[in-house]
């Protein structure tokens, strides 16, 4: 059963450009769902619609069966963590976290107990009296999280909360977020454009492109079985070749024969494969083989990446550093049928 639903959401800024185009999304209770996509695709806008900062032109946002589309922000009871954290500079950590509870007119003791408790959970107990300006990025981020969580929100919304942190802290913090989220069982929307972050933290991932969701699936499926060319490109499938179905096999324009394990419906299909999944063909292989000339070689540490020019266009191929091919030599590439994925163009 869907807990949170976005149905046919349209958003336009300044009556001109349509930013969200009939967006649909369903999230189950307790799930952590990431919105992933290139800059400007509408992730923040989607989150702001859910939060209530933007009223969509049309469409319905509902939570737990209740239509909230027209309910103002302050009556929604959602916890929001902003990219800039948006802590109140004039209040110390304790008062920042207590703010939402004071708005709810809880009595002093209750507030104190809840604040102390969440500060403990977020590892901030010793910072109660500090002001935001006196804290590091990671600490501020935890204060922002504590402030959003203490009101026991029905939904937690995070807009690139980790983008201001250094690499190591990011990894710690995302584990921390996941741990707290699971512990409290709180339904969460997480915006990011960092794939690794997104895959490691999410139960489900919604890949967005120009105001629509292209694919909504588990991280594993998105990574291994992208459905569209856009999604495939976005998550690192660099090589594409147009394929036409002919019986049980697929043929390129030039007539090369390919077989694939997975299947897909649709008229306009492309085969796609990651550079590291392409092998060098042995003598016996005659299907799924492309012959090409080695072009530019780039050293990547563990491996070399080659540009290989074939009849089907340019292919990127990663090979272990021990195996070296000289520029201008001819090689035969083998695209294993288990790794060659069909996508809709």
């Amino acid at each position: 059963m869907a807990y949170m639903t976005l149905k046919d959401i349209d958003v336009r800024y300044d009556k001109k450009k349509q930013v969200l185009k009939g967006l649909n999304l369903e999230v189950k209770e307790g799930e952590l769902v990431s919105l992933l996509g290139p800059s400007g695709c509408g992730k923040t806008t989607t989150l702001r619609v859910v939060a209530g900062f933007i009223e969509p032109e049309s469409g319905v946002f509902s939570l737990d069966g209740e239509d909230l589309t027209k309910i103002p922000v302050h009556k929604r009871n959602f916890g929001i963590v902003f990219q800039s954290y948006a802590l109140f500079p004039h209040l110390n950590v304790y008062d920042n976290v207590a703010f939402g509870l004071k708005m709810r007119k809880l009595d002093k003791q209750q507030i104190d107990q809840k604040v102390k408790n969440i500060l403990e959970v977020c590892g901030l107990s010793e910072f109660e009296k500090r002001f935001p300006q006196q804290m590091s990025g990671g600490q501020r981020q935890r204060v922002a999280l504590a402030r959003a969580l203490v009101i026991e929100p029905k939904l937690l919304l995070l807009d690139e909360p980790l983008s201001n942190l250094d690499a190591k802290l990011r990894i710690n913090m995302r584990m921390e977020i996941k741990r707290i989220q699971k512990k409290l069982g709180i339904t969460t929307l997480f915006v990011t454009h960092d794939q690794e972050e997104c895959f490691s933290i999410s139960d489900k991932v919604a890949v967005m492109n120009q105001g629509v969701i292209e694919q909504f699936d588990t991280p594993e499926n998105i990574y291994q079985r992208p459905e569209t060319e856009f999604v495939a490109r976005f998550i690192g499938f660099e090589n594409f070749l147009t394929l036409n179905r002919e019986g049980n096999v697929y043929k390129t324009q030039a007539g090369t024969v390919f077989t694939v394990e997975s299947d897909r419906n649709g008229d306009s299909l492309a085969g796609t494969i990651r550079p590291e999944d392409i092998r060098i063909a042995g003598e016996s292989e005659d299907r799924n083989v492309l012959t090409g000339t080695v072009g530019v070689r780039t050293f990547l540490g563990k491996s070399y990446q080659y540009e290989v020019l074939t009849a089907e266009g340019k292919f990127l191929v990663s090979r272990p550093a021990e195996e070296v091919y000289e520029e201008g030599s001819t090689i035969r590439l083998y695209l294993p049928e288990s790794k060659l994925i069909l996508v809709n163009k």
Binding site: F82, A86, P89, F99
Partner: protein, 260 residues
């Protein structure tokens, strides 16, 4: 090294040029003779005593304080919401509106004084005190919008959104989150507005009327017929109020708030 010396000399010259007249005026205010002389022959505070025993000066001093205070407070009450609305809205004509609000600082005071005289005194026959207050409000409002506006430019509006999301209504969030974070701007606006109103001559000259006049306007009238150290004493008092205000700002916020 040489360059630095030159710079120092230059700075001292400029500073001296600015401060010397003020020192001379201050010194002459303490002279005993009935003509303004420098240096003074003997010390006395009788001209200050005269200022406060002369009814027109005493009353106009209080009037000026009252007008400056009222005009500033009203300007804050109007200007802060206006500055907030300007900063918040994504209006296209935002910059145009900003310049309109700033126009009274660009248009010469004498023009504003004359226009208000025509409009308020001659046409609408507004009571003198009200007319003066309206004039001073107009003079001070642009400062408030300008200074509070620049303070709002530093303000992170996502903190306001955070407050909403925590269950705080819009009006309440304005008082609980926006205002506390622009206090330095508001105090700076208060000082600038107050000082400008208190020292204003052109608008006051036009709008003063029978029995109601501001301190600087009374001084101007006095100078027309008299030229004794009372004039210096009044000038010193005007400076004193200004300096006092500056000291208060400095003590509460640091003078940097004014430069912002």
């Amino acid at each position: 090294m040489r360059k630095n010396k030159m710079l120092t000399v230059f700075a001292v010259l400029v500073f001296g040029f600015l401060i010397l007249p003020l020192i001379i005026i201050t010194v002459t205010a303490f002279g005993k003779g009935s003509a303004i002389t420098f240096p003074i022959e003997s010390f006395s505070v009788k001209w200050f005593v005269k200022v406060f025993t002369t009814k027109s000066f005493r009353i106009s001093f209080l009037t000026s304080l009252e007008i400056a205070m009222l005009a500033t407070v009203i300007a804050l009450l109007v200007g802060i919401p206006a500055a907030y609305a300007l900063a918040r809205s994504g209006l296209k004509g935002k910059n145009l509106i900003k310049s309109v609000f700033l126009s009274p600082t660009i248009v010469p005071g004498i023009v504003i004084g004359f226009v208000l005289y025509q409009f308020l005194v001659l046409t609408l026959r507004v009571p003198v005190f009200m007319g003066l207050l309206a004039g001073h409000f107009m003079v001070t409002l642009p400062y408030v919008i300008r200074v509070v506006g620049s303070s709002l430019e530093q303000f992170d509006f996502s903190t306001e959104e955070a407050a909403w999301s925590l269950g705080c209504g819009k009006l309440r969030a304005f008082f609980r989150v926006v205002l506390p974070n622009i206090t330095s701007g508001i105090s700076a606006a208060f000082m600038l507005a107050f000082i400008n109103s208190f020292n204003n001559i052109p608008v006051s000259m036009f709008l003063s009327g029978p029995g109601v006049s501001t301190f600087p306007a009374t001084l101007m009238n006095y100078i027309e017929y008299n030229y004794d150290p009372t004039v210096s004493a009044v000038s010193v008092l005007l400076m004193a109020v200004t300096v006092l205000m500056m000291v208060i700002v400095d003590k509460t916020l640091g003078i940097a708030a004014l430069a912002k």
